[in-house]
Amino acid sequence: MKAALACGNLAHARWLHPGAWWVWALGLAAAASRTLNPILLVLIIAVAAVVVAARKPDAPWARSFVFFIKLGIAIIVIRVGIQILFAAALGTTTLFTLPSLALPSWMAGVRLGGAVTLESILIAFYDGLRLATIIICIGAANSLASPSRLLKSIPAALYEVGVSVVVALTFTPQLVADVTRVQSARHLRGRVTKGPRAIAGAAMPVLEGALERSVTLAAAMDSRGYGRRNANSAAQQRLAAVLLIGGLMCACFGTYGLVAAGSPWLLSTPMLAVGLLASLIAITWSAKSAIRSRYRPDPWWLPEWLISLSGVFAAGTFLIATWLVPLQMTTPSDPPTWPALPILAVLGLAIALTPAFIAPPLPRVFIALPRAVSAEIEVAA
């Protein structure tokens, strides 16, 4: 721990452990799930956006944040739209009245159109905003942490699964390239390139190509030593993998039970504990029996602690605030009131904003000059 703290120079440029970003983002998401206060929800989105803007690397996967923002807006619009069209009006403040449709008696209970009240729109908006905020928090983690680095840091027991996912990820663009190539070939033979017949004609060569490529890849991976292991450890590895997946599932159910209101926490707490224990055993076990090592693993140093704890801290303040000032956390909409500003929760969010400043800066990625340019430079020199 002492060494870890010593190594964690904050100003030193490096990639942060992707796990730290995920813990931070999940903390924010958990905080969002605890409130219906629009000011707090918008603040959470703002915190996520500021941190993403400050520490987003310049990579294709990092551009996904905008997509998640758009998805969030779509969620709100759909949620409010459904409320306006279908749901029964709440409250008395009628804003406007849509032409309503009389439905046959067997569809009683479903309503189309009619009076639209401020109260029901507010409820739908808060609800949609909460879901959108959770989605945007996930999006923030997605664009801050490289998916391939995350896969690299999964435990050794799941190593095979991780490699398969990485290979599948690199395979997809090649498959797209294959489809284009086969379509070009159909064009060259003067055949139709669109429509069901073209798809049927293209399927065979594309599948054959993919199959051939996977055989080549398998041969290449085998030649490079993939799958080397200690004698007698194959069964052990499998057992460890089963233990890990089972343990993680157990832990997931347990966590759900703890977070979701109304489930017996006497059942979910032991479940979480057993699940975590099983996963821990599996991880240490398989780390011992595997021969493979890891190249430049992402370390978990002081910045990782600080950033993941800042997210957890925010979630904690929200939890405590719901207990202390429940009315400030859920804005009453009938009658409509101005949302309050619970100081404790805002403090939590202020802490969750610190990664924008304390996370280590990103390393500069060197992009090689095109050959022609570097040749010119050489000539000039």
Binding site: H187, R189, G190, L217, A219, R224, S293, Y295, R296, F366
Partner: protein, 552 residues
């Protein structure tokens, strides 16, 4: 280092062994070149070195293969990974990680090396192969030459004692091929690695080899010897050797440098001779078939072609040259209507190829793509030919007739996937020719072709040009260009940087000059047959220096 003892290999479903009773011993620090026709068993021989044959491919292996004392019968490929590094033909198909640095580390991770060793070796390998600037780049964004170097680096980090490469330069432009070969040269000389390499392009590699193994095919015994011994008799030889044999030079030169030093008297003979003219064989009645006017094509940010103007006439054979990614394929694709012009126009026989469909397109222009197999989707050669007849709306049997004239040995019932690389090319060519397009485009036609097939292709192309077809070849193969092209167009970064008669463009170029032109420069003779036609073999031979004179 590598020992084969009475090795015979028979694939499942085959009655005849592909290799029979092979005895072979290769030592440390040797660069061994494996040559032979497609399908002769070259690749099988290479794959037997790290146990991919038979562990991965199936089949039976009798006798034994020992690598540094380890028997491949008891050691599957993964247990030889620290000893043998294998670079497959298409390096991109074997990449596992997404960035260069992680790709270099993958093999070491599998071997379980400690992280400081891995770190050190990655840095060393980056320097050794000049990859440092590319370390964070995604492997898929690299050029073909860079990918080849990364693939070599990725196996080198495990510190193998043997490096096996299957056609490492066949997809590369001449400059990138030079880079790869000099890197290999360094590995052999500085690190004492044994390199075993299969390659069809003898003119590129023969001078670097310490020994040559000829795999004759049909389970005949291997022929092994030094390049000098082998090249004296070999039925296939690069132009420099052919010239040396005809001129009777002794010792036989293998590199342009050696040949140039003894070619003084020969060059003297050429003074005052008329250089061979590569005329349009179709005569004077040429029609303009393709016209590109200020053609610009952009993919997103990347400009693939910039302001290219080009006229192509019937009977012309144009070699389109330039490095990987210079825009050659894009230009061919634009002429056949696969790519829309961002600016400017391209027309074939007056029509915009993008507006043509079906037979209208087929009867005007045909393209044989880089992987000719893409065109083939039927389950037998006969079905493929019938489909081509239907597509082109010609009499049934036309395509088969064409195919027979190109390659009579291809049977009707063969599955197209079972054909050799060269046969597949000829089948694709027959399919494209079925509709009699006046314009014929070929993208890298000699990639992976052995010499006999290449000679056949050259004949076919000459005849087509004589019949009035306009042919455009995108190629890295300078010898092919020298052999058939009437005109050479060089592209660089999407722009035309040279366009002119073959000799005028290639003779002065260090990258695109064929071997004969390099030996005879400044005289513009490009091929052995040009020289023989001008001087005659008898006079040539009488001017050969004796071996004593040659190197004084």
């Amino acid at each position: 280092m590598i020992r084969f003892e009475h090795v015979s290999i028979t694939y499942t479903d085959h009655t005849q062994p592909i290799l029979r009773d092979i005895n072979l011993q290769l030592d440390e620090g040797e660069l061994v070149l494996v040559v032979g026709r497609t399908g002769s068993g070259k690749t099988t021989l290479l794959q037997a070195i790290n146990g991919l044959v038979p562990h991965f491919t199936g089949g039976t292996l009798s006798g034994r293969v020992l690598i540094d004392g380890r028997d491949t019968r008891t050691h599957p490929p993964r247990d030889l990974a620290d000893l043998v590094g294998v670079v497959p033909q298409d390096p991109a198909s074997a990449f596992v990680a997404d960035t260069v640095e992680e790709e270099l580390a993958f093999g070491m991770e599998c071997l379980g090396l400690s992280s400081d060793v891995m770190r050190r070796r990655v840095e060393e390998t980056l320097d050794l192969l000049g990859l440092n600037e590319l370390r964070y780049r995604p492997v898929m964004s690299l050029s073909a030459g860079q990918q080849q170097r990364v693939a070599i680096g990725a196996v080198l980090t495990s510190h193998p004692k043997v490096l096996v490469l299957d056609e490492p330069t066949s997809a590369l432009d001449p400059a990138a091929a030079e880079e790869i070969l000099s890197a290999l040269q360094r590995l052999v000389h500085d690190l004492g690695i044994t390199v075993v390499m299969a390659e069809h392009r003898l003119e590129r590699v023969i001078q670097y080899a310490d020994r040559v193994i000829i795999v004759p095919g049909d389970a005949q015994p291997l022929v092994i010897g030094t390049p000098q011994e082998m090249m004296r008799e070999a039925p296939i030889a690069p132009p420099v050797v052919e010239l040396g044999r005809i001129a009777g030079w002794n010792p036989l030169p293998l590199s342009v440098r050696d040949a140039r030093r003894v070619a003084g008297p020969l060059r003297a003979l050429l003074i005052g001779q008329d250089p061979p003219q590569r005329v349009n064989s179709h005569g004077d009645s040429t029609a303009e078939l393709v016209q590109a006017q200020n053609l610009t094509i952009r993919y997103g940010q990347h400009v693939a072609l910039k302001d290219v103007s080009l006229q192509v006439h019937s009977g012309e054979v144009i070699a389109l040259m330039g490095r990987n990614g210079a825009g050659k394929s894009t230009l061919l694709n634009a002429i056949v209507g696969l790519r829309a012009a961002t600016a400017g126009t391209v027309t074939t026989q007056g029509a915009d190829p993008r507006s043509l469909k079906g037979t209208d397109l087929l009867a005007r222009v045909g393209l044989v793509p880089q992987t000719p197999g893409d065109l083939l989707e039927a389950t037998s050669v006969a079905a493929e030919c019938r489909a081509a007849d239907r597509d082109a709306k010609v009499d049934p049997g036309t395509t088969r007739e064409l195919l027979t004239s190109l390659a009579s040995e291809i049977g009707d019932d063969t599955h197209p996937r079972d054909l050799s690389e060269g046969q597949r090319l000829l089948l694709a060519l027959a399919i494209v020719l079925a509709a009699q397009p006046p314009v014929l485009l070929l993208d890298e036609p000699t990639r992976g072709l052995d010499y006999p097939t290449k000679i056949r292709l050259v004949d076919v192309l000459r005849n087509l040009a004589q019949a009035g077809h306009a042919i455009i070849l995108a190629t890295h193969d300078v010898e092919l260009a020298a052999g058939v092209a009437t005109r050479v167009v060089v592209l660089a970064d999407g722009e035309v940087v040279a366009d002119g008669e073959t000799a005028a463009v290639v003779v002065a170029s260090p990258m695109f000059a064929p071997q004969i032109a390099k030996i005879l420069a400044p005289y513009p003779w490009l091929t052995v047959s040009d020289v023989v036609n001008s001087i005659g073999p008898v006079i040539l031979r009488s001017h050969a220096p004796t071996s004593g004179e040659a190197f004084t």
